[in-house]
């Protein structure tokens, strides 16, 4: 085996207004030819910065170390040389295919532009090649689609175009940066399949960057785990997933609901990632690590080298202890059911919603909801899953009374929303609250957290300032926020904490129903677990009713009692969570399931053999501070 890409001691510093961000710190790895190499990490782990730095896409960053590709160090190349490598020798695929293609140019011209940039070919030849490429990545009628614009394609098709573009000149190395993150699960599976196919056919090497460990468990041959700019662990897939050495790797695996019996409490990684403005002198994971020993607090971690070739930056010598997962035979969910028989929190009967769009005179009716029947029982968690555009968020808005229906009956807390007067509407508003997806966009950045959470008290209860304050503070405590942060602004909180703020606000009036619209999909997996646990324990404590909307079946299965599967504006299947998973009745449900549930990787009981420990070289700009 030869390595295509060999990165050594790579550090990237990005100057910002607040100081230098140490985005990548002394990371080394090598990628074997013809394999898929996975880099996994949460947001801010430096995984994207790393690959963009070596391909010359970060001109303002300070980059040290070396990155040998094709026998040459990419970091010593002049910008023009690197430019000629990009596209020709290194192909790239980015996350969001909607924003990654230029909206003003046809997809064909965007691909031929790449060909023309590196080869002298006639426009006709470039076009012919592009059409061939588009056909190869599964775009039907490639000849006509050549002149289509990105907005005329679906998300999955756009990602296929991106892949065609990356493949255009048959580069030996392809960097795929979160290639499936913005896509629906079923489309994700197709794209991964296509990438694997392409890889096998062309023999190219793929470096796949993702936050989704589960994704790598099926396709990557080697995996590197990054955290706060550092390489925590690197090794073969079997080791990383089967017997991780680093507590962080183990923690990541444990945070994913896919690895649990439904209902069981997740073991999240506590705390949040450190600031990158200071290079870590000790292990960057120290503060969140539950296996930390005394040495961890004194010296930077050594690199443990194992007989299987894996390496881990940790004082622990063998497998991370957390992998010995306690046997969870009791499904906590069965106990958690508060479900009072036949008391409905909300119900919808034959609800239809049709939008009219288009220019005057040529109006078209677009049905969004086509006859929905749904009952939400008090005390249960009802999951609503479906792909983007299936109408699940619209249904949530209907139930919340925020969107008028064209036909049908919506009853919330005993009140029919159609015949409701102003005062009753106001009362109804107390009973339904929402928790939104985007914890950054859904909080007004100019208002203090205390007043955001206290809004319901101001609107519905007219409490005095002092009373409001004490209520808000106890709410903050309840959701795991420090009540002293009452006067802070949302920007001073992390994503997970902001989601807690949203939950506290929703909880304030003890509503009959809380609608959670993708409450964890914008969060990192370790934070996701914290929020899911919080939602669950709040439910147990207060007997809350949730309508839980998500595209992530692992999350839904974990938290929900019953699951409704939506497709094309209809609920096509509705059953207990277990029945849906064990015996899906509809073809669509089966597709959705098989696409989304990565089977947990078998845990190996074998200990790992330590062969060598390389103590970390003293870092010139950090160690002194510790002493």
């Amino acid at each position: 085996m030869t390595s295509v890409l060999e990165v050594e001691q790579l550090s990237v510093r990005i100057p910002t207004e607040d100081g230098n961000v140490h985005a990548v710190q002394e990371v080394s790895f090598s990628v074997e030819a013809g394999t898929i190499f996975g880099i996994v990490g949460e947001s801010g782990s430096g995984k994207s910065v790393l690959t963009q730095a070596i391909s010359g896409l970060m001109p303002f960053a300070e980059i040290t170390g070396s990155a040998r590709f094709d026998g040459v160090d990419l970091l010593t190349m002049r910008p023009e040389e690197l430019q000629s490598m990009r596209g020709r020798r290194i192909g790239m695929i980015f996350q969001d295919p909607l924003s990654s293609l230029h909206p003003y140019y046809t997809i064909g011209s965007q691909i031929t532009e790449l060909i023309h940039a590196h080869e002298r070919v006639s426009p006709a030849a470039a076009k012919a090649r592009t059409i061939e490429l588009l056909a190869k990545v599964g775009i039907s009628d490639a000849g006509t689609r050549f002149s289509s614009y990105p907005h005329q394609f679906s998300g999955g098709m756009r990602q296929r175009v991106m892949i065609a573009m990356a493949l255009a000149l048959n580069p030996p190395l392809i960097i795929a940066d979160e290639p499936t993150t913005a896509l629906d699960v079923t489309v994700q599976a197709q794209i991964i399949e296509l990438l694997q196919e392409v890889q096998q056919e062309s023999g190219a090497t793929i470096v796949m960057i993702t936050h989704d460990l589960g994704l790598l468990s099926t396709i990557a041959s080697d995996v590197m785990v990054m955290y706060a700019g550092n390489r925590m662990e690197i090794g073969a897939r079997a080791e990383i997933f089967g017997r991780p050495a680093h507590p962080y790797t183990a923690g990541l695996l444990l945070s994913s609901p896919a690895n649990y019996t439904p209902g069981e409490e997740l073991v999240p990684i506590p705390g949040r990632p450190p600031s990158l403005l200071q290079p870590a002198a000790l292990c960057p994971f120290l503060e969140r690590c539950e296996s930390a020993v005394d040495d961890c607090r004194r010296l930077p971690p050594p690199v443990r080298v194992y007989a299987d070739g894996g390496r881990s930056a940790c004082w622990l010598e063998h497998k991370a202890p957390a992998t010995e997962r306690r046997p969870a035979t009791v499904a906590a969910r069965k106990i958690s059911r508060h479900r009072a028989a036949n008391v409905l929190a909300a119900s919808v009967q034959d609800v239809r919603l049709t939008y009219r769009t288009g220019p005057l005179g040529r109006r078209k009716s677009v049905p969004v909801l086509k006859g929905i029947d749904l009952e939400i029982h008090r005390g249960e968690t009802l999951g609503l899953v479906g792909e983007s555009g299936c109408g699940k968020t619209t249904l949530a808005r209907v139930i919340a009374g925020l969107a008028p229906v064209t036909e049908g009956v919506v009853t919330v807390a005993g009140a029919d929303l159609q015949y409701i007067n102003r005062a009753a509407w106001r009362r109804m508003r107390r009973e339904v609250q929402l928790v939104f997806q985007d914890p950054f966009g859904s909080l007004n950045p100019r208002r203090r957290v205390g007043s955001i959470i206290g809004d319901p008290y101001r609107i519905h209860e007219r409490l005095s300032g002092a009373q409001r304050r004490s209520r808000v503070q106890s709410l903050m405590e309840l959701v795991g926020l420090n009540p002293e942060h009452y006067n802070r602004f949302p920007s001073e909180f992390s994503g997970g904490q902001r989601q807690r703020i949203g939950i506290a606000r929703a909880l304030a009036l003890q509503p009959e129903l809380i609608i959670c619209d993708e409450p964890v999909s914008a969060l990192d997996v370790s934070i996701q677990a914290q929020i899911l646990n919080l939602l669950k324990s709040l439910q147990q404590e207060f007997g809350l009713t949730y309508l839980f909307i998500s595209h992530d079946l692992a999350v839904v299965r974990h938290i929900c009692d019953r699951i409704a599967v939506m497709d094309g504006g209809m609920i096509i299947e509705l059953a207990d969570a277990d029945s849906i998973y064990d015996a899906p009745q509809q073809e669509f449900t089966r597709t959705l399931l098989s696409a989304s549930m990565s089977r947990p990787y078998p845990i190996s009981g074998q200990p790992r053999t330590l062969v060598e420990s390389l103590s970390a070289p003293a870092r010139p700009d950090g160690v002194q501070e510790v002493a």
């Binding site: 963009q52 896409l57 990009r86 596209g87 924003s99 293609l101 909206p103 003003y104 046809t106 907005h151």
Partner: protein, 319 residues
């Protein structure tokens, strides 16, 4: 597309009618008496009444307005109280000077503003960027009459003292006198008009381009290995054109209705100068004509901008 243009034009006509009513109403309310202005301070009451009668000013305002509309629909915007010339002719005579000034000025300010903005946006925070930002600040804070005077002093008076004529002091030479003469008369006004606007466009381009260069598709363009120049101009600038054209449409329309200060400083007999004379002399038909001309330009410019949007952005074109 055609539907859009027609709707816009109909809407524009409504705007113009509203505008004419507004201007008419304003004269009714505002103090001042055109008969007195024509007849002079010594005029007798009888003479004033006679003037009013011959101008139709003694009719009720709505009669005056309807008469005006009737004439306007027949292609007659009335006659100047003073010169008795047709308002259309008067304006028509003035348009070439204003149009030459504005259209040339636009070219100059775009040629300065866009490159300055692009240079700034390409390396934000650099010395080049600061220079560009400094230019913007100076340009924005320079009143154009001061700049005009300054230009005249440096490029006209000083050379004149050295017995050397670089540029004429002012006036307008029609194209029929040769393109050289025409341009020589306009160079100073062009730059005077352009500086402030160049600064505005530099700032606009910088801001827009900075946003666009942070877009994912720019990263894709760089990942393709095309030259940075191409990345910036083909992929980046293309996306900022929508914003630039929006601004340009309204700016050009406004100025075509009379670039008052610049015309005044350089003694260009354009629409702006006509407007000033008309206002001082209370020459109502001319004032109304100039206002409606400006309104028409705004309406037409908006339609053109809408059409350009469609041409620039396939998402609008194909929607």
């Amino acid at each position: 597309m055609i539907r859009l243009v027609v709707t816009r034009l109909v809407f524009g006509a409504v705007v113009l009618i509203a505008l004419s009513i507004f201007v008419f109403g304003l004269f009714f309310i505002a103090p001042g008496d055109p008969a007195r202005a024509l007849g002079g301070d010594e005029a007798s009451a009888q003479l004033l009444a006679q003037i009013r009668h011959s101008l139709g000013l003694d009719d009720p305002i709505y009669v005056q307005y309807l008469r005006f509309i009737d004439n306007a629909l027949h292609g007659n915007l009335g006659f100047s109280y003073h010169s008795q010339e047709s308002v259309l002719t008067l304006i028509g005579e003035r348009i070439p000077a204003t149009a030459s000034l504005v259209l040339g000025g636009v070219v100059v300010w775009l040629l300065i503003g866009i490159p300055v903005g692009v240079a700034s946006a390409r390396s934000p925070g650099s010395a080049r960027d600061r220079l560009g930002q400094g230019f913007t600040l100076v340009g924005l804070s320079f009143p154009s009459f001061v700049l005009g005077m300054l230009m005249l002093f440096v490029l006209y008076f000083l050379p004149r003292q050295a017995n050397f004529t670089l540029f004429p002091a002012g006036g307008y030479a029609p194209l029929s006198e040769g393109i050289g003469q025409w341009a020589r008369h306009l160079v100073l006004p062009w730059f005077t008009l352009a500086l402030v606007n160049a600064a505005i466009y530099a700032r606009l381009t910088r801001g827009q381009l900075l946003d666009v260069l942070g877009e994912d598709y720019i990263r894709t363009a760089r990942a393709k290995g095309i030259s940075e120049r191409r990345v910036v101009y083909k992929h980046g600038l293309r996306s900022t054109l929508t914003a630039i054209i929006t601004q340009l449409g309204s700016d050009v329309a406004m100025l075509l209705g009379g670039a008052i200060i610049t015309e005044q400083v350089f003694n260009l007999q354009g629409v702006g100068a006509l407007a000033i004379t008309a206002v001082t002399a209370q020459d109502r038909p001319v004032i109304i004509g100039v206002v409606l001309l400006g309104g028409t330009f705004v309406v037409v410019a908006n339609v053109i901008v809408d059409i350009l949007y469609g041409l620039l952005d396939p998402r609008i074109r194909l929607a």
